[in-house]
Structure formats: structure tokens, C-alpha cells
């Protein structure tokens, strides 16, 4: 039985990794037209590091993701601590309001943002992209931090307070340290959401200032060279490393 199970899991892994491996391998294939058979070449990596457009878009994506992750984590942590610590009417509604940014298709949210930002005169551009990304990342942060706080022993909070500690001191000395793995995981989540975000960026990014996923989409539709495979391979390596780090903090899959 366990043999069958392992074989099945192996097949699923082959399915999941086949295109990723192909992508990496093709970044080392000489043919511009992705023609087979394979012919080894590092040309595309060399071309990539000379391609200012791709590099500029990559850096733009990185710093947008850094800004987004930091803003979303700050606002999200504040909100989730308030949601966790206090009970008040309307709390369930506030919690429910976190779902639309996750559950409504990004196509709808992206087009709605485009329409609205044009309507208020903000238009397209990096500010619009950051505004949109933070909104998409916020629920992930709030959910992650809240999940972490669920295991917090409230008696600790009360003990500290009964000893006369002020609320802010309790937050700084007791709650925040406890929440920190959740906050870090939330930050990484937010970073990933922003960095890989295509749909919303696609509608909000300004021409000439596009982010990497948008550049990749236009490249795929309008002319694609293995340079894109090269940058994507590098990104996968980086984001998988990030993910492994995040997993260590959030302990996905571990026993609860």
C-alpha cells in the first residue's frame, strides 16, 4: 500500500515539476525558437544581464514587493492584534470583509481598480500598483498573524496587566514577540503576493514602467526569448528559498 502511495505522490510531483524543470532546461538551450533537440548554451543568461528592460522590471518588482510587504505587514499586524484582543459589535463583519480581496477573481478587482483610479485622476503607475498590491496582501497578513495569536495564552496578557504593566508595554514586551513568527510569515506572504502578482499589475502598471510578471506576459504574447526563462529560473530559485524560510516560521504541514 505504501509503495502505491509513494508512486502516486511521485507522479503528482512529476506533474508539478515538469514544466518548472523544462523552463530551467530551456533557459540553457541555444535555440531561440525553443526548438529541440537540446543544445547547451549560457547565451541567454549573458543576454539577460545585458537586457536593461528585464533587469529594470525585475528591480522594480523587487522594491515594489518590499514596500508592499512592509506596509501591508504593519497595517495588517495592527488590525489583527485589534481583532484578536478586543471584542466589539461588528467584528464578524470586519473579519468577513477580508475575504473579497482573496475570493473575488483578480480580473474583476484589477479592472475595478483601473476604472476607479482613472475616475479619481490617479491613473496608472507605480503608486496605483502599490495601492492595489497592499490591499491584496493585507488579508493574507491578517489571517497569518491572527492564526499565530490563536495559540497565545490570554492569561499571560492579563497577568502582565494585573502587575500594572501599561497596555503598550504589554504589547511591546509580550504580544509582539509572541506574534513575531506570524508577522514574519505574513511579511513573506505579502512579498510573494506582490512579487508574483500579474493580473492587477497588468491593468495598473504604466507602460515603460511595468513589473516583471507584466513584462513576461507581454513577452509571451508579443515575442518571447529564452532570456525570460533565465530570469524566471533565477526567480524560482529565489522565491523557493524564501518559501522554505517562510515555512520554517509558519510551520506549514507540521503537526498542530
Amino acid at each position: 500500500m505504501i509503495v502505491v502511495a509513494r508512486a502516486y505522490l511521485g507522479l503528482i510531483l512529476v506533474f508539478l515539476y515538469a514544466p518548472i524543470i523544462v523552463m530551467g532546461v530551456m533557459s540553457l538551450n541555444a535555440s531561440e525558437f525553443y526548438a529541440l533537440p537540446f543544445d547547451f548554451s549560457t547565451e541567454w543568461y549573458e543576454r539577460l544581464f545585458a537586457n536593461e528592460e528585464v533587469l529594470a522590471a525585475s528591480w522594480r518588482s523587487v522594491w515594489i514587493a518590499l514596500v508592499v510587504a512592509t506596509v501591508a505587514t504593519t497595517l495588517g499586524t495592527m488590525a489583527s492584534l485589534a481583532l484578536w484582543r478586543h471584542d466589539f459589535p461588528g467584528k464578524r463583519i470586519l473579519q468577513a470583509l477580508l475575504f473579497p480581496p482573496i475570493a473575488v477573481p483578480w480580473l474583476i478587482i484589477g479592472t475595478a481598480m483601473l476604472v476607479f483610479f482613472f475616475g479619481i485622476g490617479l491613473g496608472r503607475g507605480t503608486p496605483a500598483v502599490v495601492l492595489g498590491h497592499v490591499a491584496l496582501a493585507l488579508p493574507y497578513v491578517i489571517i497569518t498573524v491572527t492564526a499565530r495569536m490563536q495559540s497565545f495564552d490570554r492569561a499571560l496578557d492579563e497577568a502582565a496587566r494585573s502587575l500594572g504593566a501599561r497596555s503598550w508595554t504589554v504589547a511591546r514586551k509580550v504580544i509582539l514577540p509572541y506574534a513575531s513568527p506570524g508577522i514574519i510569515a505574513g511579511w513573506l506572504f505579502a512579498f510573494a503576493v506582490s512579487f508574483d502578482q500579474f493580473v492587477v499589475s497588468y491593468f495598473l502598471a504604466e507602460p515603460g514602467d511595468s513589473t516583471l510578471p507584466v513584462l513576461i506576459y507581454t513577452a509571451i504574447r508579443k515575442g518571447f526569448t529564452p532570456e525570460i526563462n533565465a530570469i524566471a529560473t533565477i526567480i524560482i530559485a529565489v522565491s523557493m528559498t524564501l518559501m522554505i524560510v517562510a515555512a520554517r516560521f509558519a510551520r506549514f504541514g507540521g503537526t498542530r
Binding site: 508539478l16 523544462v22 523552463m23 477573481p105 478587482i109 479592472t111 509571451i220
Partner: protein
């Protein structure tokens, strides 16, 4: 809650929710407004209110055909994600232990963090005639076969299942893990066979996770446009590509807004139908 506490809670909550209002809730309302206009109200364009965008959508069978096609696509992708994902989650949650489980779990979730577009494009290289799959199968089989799945409906489904399978595995895994081992033991000691245990005991208990996963797959797939465009060829026109075209190419934003809004309504109905199960899954 004292007055001071209330103010503090408000101060903590306000920034996040203000942000969500400006970037999500107001835009969604603005879209509802736009969908009722004749022209986008920028610059010197003349505009007025109309329901023509909606009558156009409901009057022209093309839109209904595409919506139906996207819903069907959502159904099949969800179906395959559940069929493939459930055993996978079962093995991870109930058959593996310790370190090998952690490692395999991470391996299943990791592809999710690679660029979705490039993954889809890589499928193109795998699936097309004389591509990787074709060559691999021909290298194994003694006779010649010609496999060219590119530019077909199966290609779209394969690409989308690949993109969304980890969702289902993750949610199902969580609900399977919560099942008490003694329940299954008890059922077995009472002489129940595996199919019966699976059907009467495991499935109902795993249902919240399965439904949560299904919703997480179905909703974005119904609105997908880039995967069908890249993998589907002439079959790649969906409700999503239609909306994309209105915004990116044709510049009929009011019609695009109406199409988006109708999709939103459909999605909300589906979410509402699934919400009892979702609430169960969340706790």
C-alpha cells in the same frame, strides 16, 4: 470595553480597513457605476446613464456562451483538482510521518511560488507536437505515436490544474489531518470495509476542506484569461479574455465593467452557496 480601549481598537483597525476601502470596495462600487454609463467619463467625452451594457450582454448569446464555457472550464478544472488532490492529501496527512512528510509537503506546495506565467508557457513547450511530452512518450513506447495537445481544451485544463492543484491539496490536507485516528480504528474494528469508511466517514469529515479548496480553484478559474489565451489557441476565447479585450483593446470600459460585474454576481452566488462549508473549514 472601555472608551479608551474602543479608541485604541479603532486606531489599530482604521488604517487597514481604510486602505481596503480605497483599493477594493470603492473600486468595486465604481465599477458598478461605470457599467451604467454610455462612455467612460474622462476628458471631454459625453456620457449619460444607460442600461444598454446589460441589455447588450443579456441580449447577445455570444456572452452567455462564453460565460457558460468559462463555468464549464471552472467545473472541469475543479473536478480534476479534487480527484488528483484528495489522494495526495490523504497520503500526506495519514500515511506519512515526521520528516518525510514535512519534506514532501513542502515539495508539493513549492511550485506554487514560481511565476505562474512562465509555468504556463513551459507547458506549451511540453505539450506541443515534437515537444517534450511527445519525445518522452516516443522514447518509452516501441511504436510511434504523435502527441500534440497544444492549442486544445485539454491543454487549458492541464495548465490550470497545475496552477491550482496545490490549493486543494493544502485545504484537504488540513481537514484530513484533523480527523481523529480512533474514529477510523473504531469503524475498522466494527468490520467496516475501506470503501465504506472512505465514503461514510472520511469524505464527510474532509468535506469542508474539499469545498474550501474547490471554491479557491473554481472562482479564479472562471475569471482566467491568460492561461486559455496562451494554451488554448482557437479554443482560448473565454469570458475572461472577453473582459480583458474590453479593457485592453476595444476600449469599451462600460461594457467591460458590466461583464465584470455579472461575473462578480455569479461568483458571489457561488460563494454564498458554499459559505456554510467554508465557515466550518475556517474553524
Amino acid at each position: 470595553m472601555t472608551r479608551a480601549e474602543r479608541i485604541r481598537a479603532l486606531g489599530l483597525l482604521a488604517p487597514a480597513y481604510l486602505w481596503l476601502t480605497v483599493a477594493v470596495f470603492l473600486p468595486l462600487s465604481a465599477m458598478a457605476f461605470f457599467s451604467l454609463l454610455t462612455e467612460v467619463p474622462f476628458g471631454e467625452r459625453e456620457w449619460s446613464f444607460t442600461i444598454a451594457n446589460y441589455t447588450e450582454v443579456f441580449g447577445n448569446p455570444v456572452y452567455a456562451t462564453l460565460l457558460w464555457k468559462s463555468l464549464k472550464l471552472g467545473f472541469w478544472v475543479t473536478f480534476w483538482c479534487l480527484v488528483l488532490g484528495f489522494p495526495c492529501a490523504w497520503i500526506l496527512a495519514r500515511m506519512l510521518k515526521g520528516r518525510s512528510r514535512e519534506v514532501l509537503f513542502l515539495l508539493v506546495i513549492l511550485p506554487f511560488w514560481s511565476n505562474a506565467l512562465v509555468r504556463i508557457f513551459s507547458w506549451a513547450i511540453v505539450l506541443r507536437g515534437n515537444g517534450v511530452l511527445d519525445r518522452a512518450v516516443n522514447a518509452v513506447l516501441p511504436w510511434d505515436v504523435n502527441i500534440n495537445l497544444m492549442f486544445s481544451e485539454p491543454a487549458i485544463i492541464i495548465g490550470l490544474v497545475h496552477s491550482y492543484l496545490p490549493y486543494v491539496i493544502l485545504t484537504t490536507y488540513l481537514s484530513l489531518q484533523a480527523i481523529d485516528e480512533t474514529l477510523i480504528e473504531a469503524a475498522r474494528s466494527l468490520g467496516a470495509r475501506w470503501p465504506r469508511i472512505l465514503w461514510r466517514l472520511v469524505l464527510p469529515l474532509a468535506l469542508p476542506g474539499l469545498i474550501a479548496g474547490a471554491v479557491l480553484v473554481f472562482v479564479p478559474v472562471v475569471g482566467s484569461f491568460m492561461e486559455p489565451r496562451l494554451l488554448g489557441g482557437r479554443f482560448g476565447t473565454t469570458y475572461g479574455t472577453l473582459i480583458e479585450d474590453q479593457f485592453v483593446a476595444v476600449f469599451n470600459w462600460p461594457l467591460g465593467a458590466a461583464l465584470s460585474f455579472i461575473l462578480l454576481a455569479v461568483v458571489l452566488v457561488i460563494l454564498a452557496a458554499a459559505s456554510p462549508a467554508l465557515r466550518k473549514a475556517a474553524t
